[in-house]
């Protein structure tokens, strides 16, 4: 019924290793293993490398088009005189965003996730680990990981970061924290971006901020416009504080079990 590599495994004669819960004649094998355990172990290895190089790492996440890249370009221009910043840029395809960020003068390691299984919709710890080899960590103070634009998947994958910034644009609607709670709960700070568009929209920013507070009472909230520069200095201050303190913040798997 199952074609399992053509061998017959006689339980009486073959050492099957340490499979706790397995006994001869028993068809049930107890496992109790975290599905993302391998990713968590790689994320911990990344975290050790970041600590050894004394570099602070921020994972930046959003839906496609929320303005991550434009906001980061503004932030890097302001941080350049005081902090040595490097970028890991995740995109399914193209180097367009990587080129825009590199134009600000920061070193960029691009990860096109289409090389992965089925064109991954997120960065995982292994992809970040492969990109690390292309950044001189010892020469940097801050590494910013621009994740793949997606409100679901990136939140599930710890990549070894110290803190998470979510960029959310006011064109996305007030109800999104309820629809994408995993992402909104995983953020330490949410930049509510494109506030220069508010006069043209029906978006109720107070309702959004209240919804976000329902889902993640601990998240910091900052109103920003990469276009006008509103709030950009406040985001820079947050990056400065992360770079200074290397805040170790809870990641989703810390709450497991």
């Amino acid at each position: 019924m199952h074609d399992h590599d053509g061998h017959t495994h006689d339980r009486g004669e073959r050492d099957v290793g340490d499979h706790s819960g397995y006994e001869s004649g028993d068809l049930r094998v107890d496992v109790l293993e975290r599905i993302l355990g391998e990713n968590e172990r790689t994320a911990d290895a990344n975290r050790s490398d970041f600590a050894a190089a004394n570099v602070a790492v921020v994972n930046v996440m959003s839906s496609p088009g929320a303005g991550k890249t434009t906001l980061l370009c503004e932030v890097f221009a302001r941080l350049a005189p005081e902090l040595r910043v490097g970028v890991i840029e995740g995109d399914i395809e193209t180097a367009i965003d990587a080129d825009r960020l590199a134009a600000t003068g920061v070193p960029v390691a691009l990860v096109n996730t289409a090389n992965g299984f089925g064109g991954e919709c997120h960065l995982d710890a292994t992809m970040v680990r492969s990109a690390l080899q292309r950044l001189a960590l010892d020469d940097l103070d801050l590494v910013v990981i621009e994740n793949v634009g997606n409100l679901v998947c990136p939140a599930e994958f710890d990549v070894g970061e110290a803190a998470r910034l979510m960029v959310y644009s006011v064109t996305e609607g007030e109800e999104k924290p309820y629809k994408y709670p995993v992402m909104f709960r995983s953020a330490d700070v949410v930049a509510i971006n494109k506030v220069d568009l508010l006069p043209h929209l029906d978006f109720d920013i107070d309702a959004f901020e209240s919804n976000l507070h329902d889902v993640n009472p601990a998240a910091g909230q900052l109103r920003t416009s990469a276009r006008t520069g509103d709030g950009v200095e406040a985001i820079c201050d947050w990056f400065r504080s992360v770079a200074e303190t290397h805040v170790r913040v809870p990641t989703p798997h810390d709450e497991d079990e």
């Binding site: 019924m1 199952h2 074609d3 399992h4 590599d5 061998h7 495994h9 099957v16 290793g17 499979h19 819960g21 068809l27 049930r28 094998v29 107890d30 496992v31 109790l32 293993e33 975290r34 599905i35 993302l36 355990g37 391998e38 990713n39 299984f117 089925g118 991954e120 919709c121 997120h122 995982d124 679901v152 998947c153 939140a155 599930e156 994958f157 924290p177 309820y178 994408y180 709670p181 995993v182 992402m183 709960r185 507070h213 329902d214 889902v215 993640n216 009472p217 989703p252 798997h253 709450e255 497991d256 079990e257």
Partner: protein, 111 residues
């Protein structure tokens, strides 16, 4: 579609524990606070194991409700919407369950 990544990770764990023995059923716990869709997961499992020794095995998803413990009044509350507030009004809550993403057990094929 990180369900495919998750299924790839499940398959690696199953292969290790099955150690070549044919697998009939894989049981996993998925917390309500994981943005994982059980139907998508079952479909992704078929795609992931197609053409491998695990083809034909069933992925059995056990959904675990989201439960909060209140840091102020001490009550446990099961939530069905992602509002992390105790009925007493406190937002000082911790998650008791709902974050699970575990392979719990395998059922081997009878020989």
């Amino acid at each position: 579609m990180h369900e495919l990544s998750i299924c790839t990770a499940i398959a690696a764990i199953v292969r290790e524990h099955a150690d070549g023995r044919p697998v009939d059923r894989v049981r996993i716990d998925v917390g309500a606070l994981r943005q994982v869709v059980p139907d998508t997961l079952a479909y992704s499992w078929e795609v992931t194991v197609d053409g491998t020794p695990l083809a034909g095995s069933i992925l059995e998803v056990h959904e675990i409700p989201a439960v909060l413990a209140c840091g102020d009044c001490g009550a446990d509350t099961t939530i069905s919407v992602p509002v992390f507030r105790c009925p007493c009004g406190s937002t000082s809550t911790s998650v008791v369950s709902g974050q699970e993403l575990l392979v719990t057990s395998l059922e081997l094929c009878p020989v």
